[in-house]
Subunit: 230 residues, 2 copies
């Protein structure tokens, strides 16, 4: 997988930046995508400063990033979610995996970050599945790993639950998740379960506000075999 | 709190039985409630066998249990949820706390246990809030602690997130939850967040089926002060 670059669209934001940093530290090749290619390049430079000059990190405009990667992560506010997907439609190639980390927080339309909007399809990730061209697979993951944890220095104290209707793509993403120090990746079932992952984030944000923390989740009580091995 | 008995309505089922056992072991007085007073008594006898003859555990018909306790826990299938609350309406006294652990699993109407039904009010707990008489406070909790964990012998490896619109009642329930060995109790905010707790259970059931485990959740990344102290 190391030679399959990961493009993080919306990667100049705190969540995407944190994921980029962690994957680069794990030896992955990462492309930060942004509406603005120059801002993407600046974010990539900043990752390089933090991760060292051997880091394989690049910055590109979002559509250009789709041209060089078939492993795309969406870390964008829900307000720009559908618009970006429509913009990418002709750039997305069959066989690509779109990993959606988007949470439809009510804050995106002026509401609370501890509430979600109802998405007609069931979840942001299912909306994505409706908007990508045929042959592109959608996987929901990374909603519950906060930017502060990712940008911290210690291991990430959070499990990543991965939901997809495509078993192979789910496996690829679980492997990718478990490359992040501290993360354990779990198969959360079908894409429809993304609605639960998205809502958990709203709960965690509420806990963060109430208790001044940077919360995450761990699943207990499962056998070791439930977690992916590299 | 020890001299305030806890009545567990639907306490002959595995979840309620597990909670009864844990609280009795912690020195609480517990009443198991059931539609059938005799079955309640049998379950109470079984708890006594497991917890020792000093255990303060009793069995009663549900309505009778409401007459002797103002701290009521609902551990009933969603199919019987509204009917029980209507039946209890005249028995519930103002000042009582109803702790709702009910999850509206689709299995209750023949669907999957890894999916929830949409409840118009937002969650089973919010439905409860609509059905109890004025002056009765509803608290959502215990949805995510599985019966198998509760009936096991070791400490329970799960956090209990407590949601309520009444701060005092929330505090009472967090104290009650943290009496269960291993449990850490957290303030999950307003009752409306019960919808998230209920859906997490569906996710955990899916994980249990997929990975043959008895899963629970832990919240990470919060300061120690976030958890209740006795």
């Amino acid at each position: 997988m190391t030679d399959r670059p990961i493009a993080i669209l919306g990667g100049t934001g705190p969540e995407g930046f944190g994921l980029a940093l962690r994957w680069v530290q794990a030896g992955e090749t990462v492309i930060i995508g942004s509406r603005d290619g120059q801002r993407a390049q600046q974010a990539a430079d900043k990752v390089k400063q933090l991760a060292g000059s051997n880091a394989r990190i690049f910055g590109m405009e979002n559509v250009a990033a789709c041209g060089v990667s078939d492993l795309l992560v969406l870390t964008i506010p829900f307000s720009g979610h559908a618009a970006l997907l429509k913009q990418l439609k002709s750039a997305l190639r069959p066989g690509s995996i779109v990993i959606d980390a988007t949470v439809p927080l009510a804050a995106t339309v002026g509401g609370r970050a501890s509430r979600t909007l109802g998405v007609w399809q069931g979840s942001a990730a299912q909306e994505t599945a409706e908007l990508v061209p045929e042959g592109v697979v959608v996987v929901a993951a990374f909603q519950n790993v906060g930017a502060e944890m990712l940008q911290g220095t210690g291991p990430v104290d959070c499990d990543v639950i991965v939901c997809s209707d495509d078993a192979d793509a789910g496996h690829v993403v679980r492997k990718l998740a478990s490359k992040i120090a501290g993360v354990r990746a779990l198969d959360g079932g079908r894409l429809e379960n993304a609605r639960i992952l998205e809502q958990i984030t709203a709960l965690l944000i509420g806990l963060n506000i109430r208790h001044k923390g940077h919360s995450g989740i761990r699943i207990t009580g499962l056998p070791a075999a439930a977690y992916i091995s590299q």
